[in-house]
């Protein structure tokens, strides 16, 4: 017993040390700042004063939710058709989905500025064919577009991975029992792909709700998301760490609640009424 557990501990120790230093300690620091004032005394004032940022919270959640739904609607059929292709074609499409992720996230977002800007690609084209330029950059639409573009691989991959594992004999069985295409999807494919959908939603919603870079670059300064608010306070200096930590804490708790609700859906074996 001793020997084995010692061996296990040894193997796990680099990860345990890593997570202690870079996950647990920062969380404790955040909690400390959130519950103290600038001179280090315990207070709940940071948290009780957060009502002011209701709007930023609401917009963040709204934008992230819209981006997640759009991402899901685009990624689900994409993942489905990918899983139906020949293995060699599947690999190629998989690569095409992955390639943008090899590029830095900031650069990918930045590239959209040159496309959407008032003198960018689209508007130059419209002008050249004699149409009026459109207001594209610095709009909520641009922010949501940025979120969808940046995070869509995180939706496609888990759904694809679950779909490609669905045993073909289950689809044949459902056909055999009288299911047409629609019933086959509703009663077999969708329920079986749900774990992939849940993890895709999580992996797109969480980074979307807390992003600040996308909204700054593509939304101008008009849309202040909760991520922007946190960044803003940190930039003001150490006196504002407490309020920034308090906002972070609340955001984190909200995300955890969302994840918890989502996991309830993926556990429920029988109730097939998600969405």
């Amino acid at each position: 017993m001793n020997k084995k557990t010692f061996g296990n501990k040894l193997v796990a120790s680099p990860y345990i040390v890593w997570s202690a230093i870079f996950i647990v300690v920062p969380l404790i620091i955040m909690l400390y700042f959130a519950l103290t004032d600038s001179s280090g005394n315990f207070t709940l004032a940071n948290l009780s004063g957060l009502g002011e940022y209701k709007k930023a919270f609401a917009i963040s959640i709204l934008y992230a939710a819209i981006a997640t739904v759009i991402t899901l609607l685009l990624a689900y059929p994409m993942a489905y058709f990918m899983s139906k292709l020949k293995i060699s074609s599947q690999r190629m499409i998989f690569m095409i989905v992955m390639i943008p992720m090899w590029m830095n996230f900031l650069i990918r977002t930045y590239s959209w500025i040159t496309i959407l800007a008032n003198t960018g690609l689209i508007n130059t084209f419209l002008k050249n064919i004699g149409l009026r330029p459109l207001k594209l950059i610095n709009t909520p639409g641009a922010v949501i577009l940025g979120m969808v573009y940046d995070f869509i691989p995180y939706m496609i991959l888990p759904i694809y991975s679950v779909m490609s594992k669905i045993d073909n004999s289950l689809l044949e069985a459902s056909e055999d029992l009288g299911s047409n295409g629609f019933n086959k999807f509703k009663r077999v494919i969708f329920p079986l792909s749900r774990p992939g959908v849940i993890s895709g939603i999580t992996m797109v919603f969480v980074p979307s709700v807390s992003t600040f870079y996308i909204s700054q670059k593509l939304g101008g300064n008009k849309t202040m998301l909760i991520g922007d608010t946190i960044e803003y306070f940190f930039n003001l200096g150490p006196d504002y760490y407490n309020i920034a930590s308090a906002i972070s804490l609340v955001l984190m708790v909200m995300i955890l609640i969302c994840l918890f609700i989502m996991n309830r859906f993926s556990d429920g074996e029988e109730g097939g009424v998600l969405m």
Partner: protein, 371 residues
């Protein structure tokens, strides 16, 4: 023909990637019969089943159901149901919902579904398992759910694709009896696919022996065993000694250098033929009194009988006897006329029926592959 054919396959050919899987296949399946497609893996038996189910379309030829051509009719519109080799139960549904699946698709009222599912589960002895998760069931129980799920839809024809292959021997024997019972109780046509000849003989009204995409023989289990059409069928069904012979005239055949009386006629004079003698039909007698004379080269005790290999002029015969003999004994063989079965020469002549390379282990390996 006392009963109508419910399913007919006419001149069916199927090729996958240039490889001929079914070759000009013709078969009529009668209403309410238990028919078995029997053959080694790759013989086209599962392909035949998938054609009837609608998962596959033939390259040419017609699939006919109740007198109507059903080529191109999708699987979900056909009045047949399938029991899949690995059951293909839905892992996201419990036992009740699996059985109810086809009924829900048909949008039957809830109380009717409930009554039907309860009835089906009691038919397969799974009452009380309604709420159980599929993953918690044993192989035999999953098998029963698959049966209940398929027959809940009242198919006219039930297709069974090696449904017992994954079960252990004892369970398999029980399920054979139970399937047969269910078939008689429901009075529907069963088309059963297996590579296990014993299973085919015990369960079927008729057996279709297939090899290389062609039907080798169709008949009752007795016909197939007693009157095999060629060396392949003789060897695949049970044990056989198959020797080269010459038909001297009606009721007279010569093999192993001796002349024998037999019950076969209608061959041309001096026609080369294959002669089949089943190991249990040979009597061992004293050396001097034997019609054939040889030396025992191996003896295996199998409980019910001994399996003895006797070398007769270089050809090894297998003989099953309840008397004990020893290696190197010199023995005589006595063969009754009705134990001799004459077959026309075929592409399979000379490939089977000699036990010179025979070994227990090799012969029984084929039973293990599916475990």
């Amino acid at each position: 023909m006392e009963k109508e054919n419910i399913v007919e396959l006419k001149n069916i050919s199927v090729a996958f990637d240039g490889e001929q899987v079914l070759d000009q296949l013709n078969l009529g399946i009668k209403d309410k019969e238990f028919i078995t497609l029997l053959g080694p893996s790759g013989c086209g038996k599962t392909t035949t089943l998938r054609l009837i189910a609608g998962f596959l379309e033939p390259d040419c030829g017609d699939v006919v159901f109740e007198g109507k051509k059903i080529n191109g009719v999708p699987a979900y519109k056909r009045q047949v149901n399938t029991i899949f080799q690995r059951y293909a139960l839905f892992p996201h549904l419990n036992v009740y919902e699996n059985v109810a699946f086809g009924l829900r698709v048909k949008k039957l009222p809830e109380n009717e579904i409930k009554q039907k599912v309860t009835e089906m589960l009691s038919l397969v002895n799974l009452s009380g398992f309604e709420k159980r998760n599929i993953a918690t069931l044993s192989g035999g129980q999953q098998q029963r759910v698959a049966i209940a799920r398929a027959i809940a839809n009242h198919p006219k024809v039930l297709l069974l694709d090696e449904p017992l292959a994954a079960l252990d021997l004892k369970l398999r024997k029980d399920m054979q009896k139970e399937l047969k019972k269910i078939q008689q109780q429901l009075g529907i046509t069963f088309i059963f696919v297996t590579h296990d000849q014993e299973e085919a003989l015990t369960m079927s009204d008729r057996v279709v022996v297939m090899d290389k995409g062609k039907i080798q023989q169709v008949g009752t289990p007795q016909d197939i065993y007693n009157e095999p059409k060629n060396a392949f069928v003789a060897d695949f069904i049970g044990e056989s000694n198959i020797v080269d012979g010459k038909m001297l005239k009606d009721y007279r055949v010569e093999f192993s250098g001796q002349e024998f009386r037999c019950l076969d006629r209608g061959f041309s004079q001096n026609e080369q033929v294959d002669v089949v003698v089943r190991p249990e039909d040979v009597d061992i007698v004293e050396y001097d009194k034997g019609m054939l004379k040889g030396k025992v080269t191996s003896v295996a005790f199998l409980g019910v009988h001994y399996e003895i290999i006797v070398d007769i002029g270089g050809f090894k015969w297998m003989i099953q006897t309840t008397d004990e003999h020893f290696v190197n004994d010199r023995v005589g063989l006595y063969i009754e006329p009705d134990a001799i079965h004459i077959m026309k020469k075929s592409e399979y002549s000379g490939l089977y029926g000699d036990y010179s390379s025979y070994s227990e282990e090799i012969d029984h390996l084929s039973d293990v592959e599916e475990e």
